[in-house]
Every structure is written in structure tokens, then in C-alpha cells.
């Protein structure tokens, strides 16, 4: 086990506390850089979605994970970013300009949402953000002069500095990856700054933060604005990746998916956003696999255990019909959410930390290290 001896504040806020971090993240980056030349085009496409979802996940972590303000309206911010890009593109605005404009506009709207949200906590905030998202969805469907309503908008191929970047090219992947990496590094630095400390203080106790001189209102609005702006950037990439956007893509379902990203990944660390994004995006290929390969495999296993060919065929068709049921994706989502909340509240990254600690402390690991306190007295209504 490695002990870090910190002698001053600079040691405490280092991005890479020791050389091990540099090695492991360096290897990860190298793998990500050679990925487009190794993986199939389908997997590359999924990897681009992982980058976009992870960017939104980081944005949501800033707001929900670190400032403690739950939001079920991030699909609306994503939509605003995507539609700004699609609209400005019609007037031949270059990519860097509309990319920044989308982020700025979304950030502004995020701040506008943040002001009313100041008065709301807990469940009320969740309901208010849902309403905001539903209203935005309706506006997108009705404001036909700008958004083309339910017909949707076509997004032209990205052109960066005179070079066209098709949505399935490696360059587009590198663009998404660099946006993700910049977001993560920026957020890590933000969390080491006074602003980030204030966010965490507000999450842990609003009353305590206020009594320590933190301007709670200002920092909550800042958190909303930053989170929305990052989601807006992700929205531009999302629009380019899909090359067609319409209001029914940005439903409550998508907002819930983003919340699932951080819930599954873990809400206390930026690793969570990436792990959760990988999990959510990979559910689709997994279900396809379930539909195509699993029935044959199970029948094969049944046959090795002595089932006759008729029984095996029967089993195969039954599994196949189960795997191709319509609502299977929703059911799996539901089960995953419930299981994670019940048994793995710290998410995938929490599980990784537990495994790591188990080996570091080998015979002395205690499960109670990660046990959360249950509070029956505190009433969330009375604060």
C-alpha cells in the first residue's frame, strides 16, 4: 500500500497525486487514441455515444452529485444545445462559433432555470425540472418557424476549419473525446477551486454553508449555469452524431437515462459519469446480443446436459421469443435502477473502490467502512 505524504496545499490539489496515476491514465489515453484503428465501426459509433453521455454525466454530476440539486430536465438542455447548433448552421455559421454559442445560450437558460430553483429543494426541485423539460419539449414541437416542429431538423455534416468531418469518421470521435477530456479536466480543476468547494459545502449542508459565508444563491445559480452549458456543448455533438433531431428524442426518458448514468456510475466521483455512460450505452448492443446469440447458446447448454433435440429446440424458441419481447429494455432498466439503489448505492465506481480497498487492507477489510448512516429523524420538510 502506498502512503501519500502531503506537506502543503499544493500536494493536496494535484491532479495526479502520484506517478501511478500518470501511468494508468496514460495507458488509457493511448488505448482510446488507437481505438478507431482497431475497433469495428459499430463499436466506434457506440464509443462516440459513450463520450457524449459521459459529458452530460459530468455536467449532471456538477449539479446533482456535487451541489446536491437533483435535476430531471437535462434532456431539455441537451435539446437547446442541439437545436441552437442546427439553427445557426442554416446561416453558415462556422462550427467553433455555434459550438460556443450553443454552450453560452444553454448556460444562460440554465441560469434562468437556476433562479426559480433557488427556492426549491428535494422533491419540488425534481418536479420543477421535469416541468421545465416538458415545456421545452412542447415549445420545440410548436415553434415551427425555428425548430420545424415535429418534422425535425436535418443537421448538416460538421465542417471544421474547412475540412468536412463525417459523423462516423475517427476525427469526429477524437473531437468528442477531446470535449470529454477537456470537460473532465476542467471540472476537476473547478472542484479544487473555491467555487467547487462552495458547491460541495452547499450539498453537505446549506445552513452550514451559509453560516460560513458562502453565498448559497449565487453558487446554486452558477452550478446550474455551468452544468447546463456543458450539456449544451454535448448537445451540439449529439446533433451532429444523429444528423437529424426532432422533439421526441429529448423526452423525459432521456433525462432519466442521464440520471441513471450517474446513479449507476456513482454520484460522488467523476469516474462515475464515464463508467455509467459505458454501462448505459452498452445496454443496446447487449440486448441485440441477447436476441441473436443467447437462444442458441442456452439450447446448446441444454443439449450438453442431456436434453433431446426437440426439447433443446423448444427451449431455443422460448428464449428467443422472450428476448425479442417489446418492453424488455424498459424492464431491464427498471430492474437495474432498483438493484443499484438497493444494493450498490455508491455505483460502479464505489464497487471498484471497495475491491481496491479489500486488497489494500487485505485481512483487515471491513464492510462497515462503506456503510451509510440511516436517518429517521431528519425531516426533509422542515429545513
Amino acid at each position: 500500500m502506498r502512503f501519500l505524504f502531503k506537506t502543503d496545499y499544493e500536494d493536496d490539489i494535484k491532479l495526479f497525486p502520484h506517478s501511478g496515476y500518470l501511468v494508468s491514465y496514460g495507458i488509457l489515453l493511448a488505448l482510446l487514441l488507437i481505438a478507431p484503428f482497431v475497433l469495428s465501426s459499430y463499436l466506434m459509433s457506440q464509443l462516440v455515444f459513450v463520450c457524449i453521455y459521459a459529458t452530460v454525466g459530468v455536467a449532471l454530476l456538477i449539479l446533482t452529485g456535487f451541489t446536491g440539486q437533483a435535476s430531471l430536465g437535462h434532456a431539455a438542455f441537451l435539446a437547446i444545445g442541439a437545436y441552437t447548433a442546427a439553427y445557426l448552421q442554416k446561416y453558415n455559421v462556422p462550427f467553433p462559433v455555434y459550438f460556443l454559442a450553443a454552450g453560452a445560450l444553454t448556460g444562460l437558460i440554465g441560469a434562468l432555470v437556476g433562479f426559480p430553483a433557488l427556492r426549491l429543494t428535494g422533491i419540488y426541485l425534481v418536479i420543477a425540472t421535469i416541468s421545465f423539460a416538458l415545456i421545452v419539449e412542447e415549445i420545440l414541437a410548436r415553434w415551427e418557424s425555428v425548430t420545424h416542429g415535429n418534422e425535425g431538423m436535418r443537421v448538416k455534416t460538421l465542417s471544421l476549419l474547412g475540412v468536412t468531418v463525417p459523423r462516423d469518421s475517427p476525427t469526429f470521435y477524437f473531437l468528442c473525446l477531446s470535449v470529454l477530456v477537456l470537460t473532465i479536466v476542467g471540472t476537476l480543476n473547478l472542484l479544487r477551486s473555491p467555487t467547487g468547494r462552495a458547491f460541495v459545502a452547499i450539498r453537505d449542508s446549506e445552513t452550514a454553508a451559509r453560516s460560513m459565508g458562502v453565498n448559497v444563491a449565487l453558487y446554486k445559480v452558477k452550478s446550474f449555469a455551468i452544468s447546463a452549458a456543458i450539456t449544451g456543448f454535448a448537445g451540439v455533438l449529439f446533433a451532429h452524431k444523429l444528423s437529424f433531431i426532432s422533439p421526441e428524442m429529448f423526452t423525459l426518458q432521456l433525462s432519466i437515462e442521464f440520471i441513471i448514468v450517474i446513479l449507476i456510475g456513482g454520484t460522488f466521483s467523476l469516474h462515475g459519469a464515464v463508467l455509467g455512460a459505458i454501462f448505459i450505452v452498452m445496454i443496446d448492443p447487449f440486448l441485440t446480443y441477447l436476441k441473436d446469440d443467447l437462444p442458441g447458446m442456452i439450447a446448446g447448454i441444454a443439449a450438453t446436459f442431456g436434453a433431446g433435440p426437440a426439447t433443446a429446440g423448444n427451449i431455443q424458441s422460448k428464449v428467443a421469443s422472450f428476448a425479442s419481447l417489446n418492453g424488455l429494455k424498459g424492464a431491464i432498466y427498471g430492474i437495474i435502477i432498483v438493484l443499484f439503489v438497493l444494493f450498490e448505492p455508491l455505483g460502479l465506481y464505489g464497487r471498484w473502490l471497495k475491491i481496491k480497498l479489500f486488497f489494500q487492507l487485505f485481512p483487515l477489510y471491513k464492510r462497515a467502512t462503506f456503510k451509510r448512516q440511516k436517518i429517521y429523524v431528519k425531516s426533509e420538510r422542515n429545513r
Binding site: L263, G330, Y333, Y376
Partner: protein, 291 residues
Amino acid sequence: MLDFVQQLVSGVALGCVYGLIALGFVLVYKATEVVNFAQGDLMMLGGFFAFTFIGMMGLNYWIGFAGAVAAMALFGMVAERVVVRPILGYPQFSIIMATIGLGYFLRSIAGMIWGTDDLKIETPFSQGVLRIGSLVLAYDKLSVIAATMILCTLLYLFFNKTTLGTAMRASSENMLAAYYMGIPVKRVVSIVWAISAAVATCAGVLLAPITFIHSNVGLVLGLKAFPAAVLGGFGSIPGAVVGGVLIGVIESMAGFYLPEGWKDVAPYLVLLAVLLLKPEGLFGHHVRKKV
């Protein structure tokens, strides 16, 4: 004028359904401070149960209705035991997510079992209208209004006059203190979930003749019930029904008098306005903590 009254009545009828779903939220919230995002889906499931009993098994309407209510009350208890009880006492966010997950699951499972078509339950009120002068009121809408009034009164009396109701209010204020006072908090919570699922079932069955039962009906109506609950103040039983009726009327008026598109947005605009101007709602009372 006639149009106005007609719209008013259909708005009130729709609003009563919102009110019944909101009543389910409020019951669970009052007793456990848990907001059940799957309430609409419990309603949907109740409707499907009733459809199974009445439409598929050919039982009498009232027997089928009672059977569905009983089955759903049991289901509510099971859902509480499996999903909610292990995480009581954790931050609200976890519980919200767990009930969202439960809602997803119920919606998909219902879609797998009963298909995705619109289903219709034959009720004694689905035919026939009441004529007062030139005003035409359908029995199905009147039945919803009447049933809501009865249920609301019963629940109000139950919460304020019976020992069990007092126990529920006590455990909502402070679970630990209630437990020390000898209130079986776990059983109380379980009963609350049963009642809330039963109320949801009533909403589902009464709704069946007005809008048909399909697997997504819970999501759509559940989201409309939030403005109702918030408008009424989240912890008030009469408030939930009044809020529901107001939202229903606003929605139906907006659909009639305003351009297309306002109908779906109006409830949420009202919700945001209420949250900004009077977050404690019409009937709620704001409690401040002494530091």
C-alpha cells in the same frame, strides 16, 4: 355558456382522476416522506387487473372492481416491502430513483402481459347520459366525480379521526419518535402503501371508460398529478383533490379556448407559478426549523 359548463364538467371529471392519483402521492408522502413516482403506474396496473377480472374472466363489475382493489393493495404492500423499506432513511434522491425504476419495470411488464393496445372495460356507467335542460352530462364522468368525493371524505376521516390515521401522521412527523411511542412504524408504512395502491386502482378503474387503459397511461397521468399535488400542498388530502380538479379544469379550458399546444403545457406552467409564488401550495403549511 353551455360549452363552458360542458368543458367545466369534463375538466372536473378528468381533474378528479388527477386528484385520485395525487391522493396516492400525498398518502405515501404524509406517512413516509417518500414520493412515489410509480403512483401512475400503480393506477395503470390496477386498471389492467380490473380488465383481467371483468373483461377477460367475465366477473360482475363490482366483484371485479373489489378484486382488483384487493389485489393491488396486496401488490402495494409487496412493492413497499421489496423496494422501499430497505432504503427508508436514506436521502430522498435514492428513493425517488427506486420508485422511478419500479415505474419503468411495471410499465414494461404490463406491456408484455397485456400488450400495447388500448383496452376498454365495460362498466354500468359507460352508456347513458344525464340531461339537465340542454346540458348533457355523461354518467361515466359523473361517476368519477362522485367516487372521488366519497373516497376523499373517507380518507380524510380515516386520517384525522382514527387511531391508525393518527399513528400514520405521527410516523410521518418523526419515525423514530413514533417508534419509541410504541407505534409499529413498519406495519403502518406497509398499510399506507396498500391504501395508496388501492386508491390508485380506483382511479384506474374509473378512468377506464374515459380514456382507455394502455401501458403508458400511468406515465402520462402520473406526470399531470404532480402539479395537482403541488398545487394542493404536498401533504394535504383535500388539497390533492382540489388541486387535481383545478388542474383538470385549467387543462380542459386551455384545450378549448387557447391555441393548440397550450393544453399540454398549461398544468406545468401553473405548477411552476405555484412553486415560485406559493411553494407550500393552497392547503399546505410551511414548517420552519428552529436552529
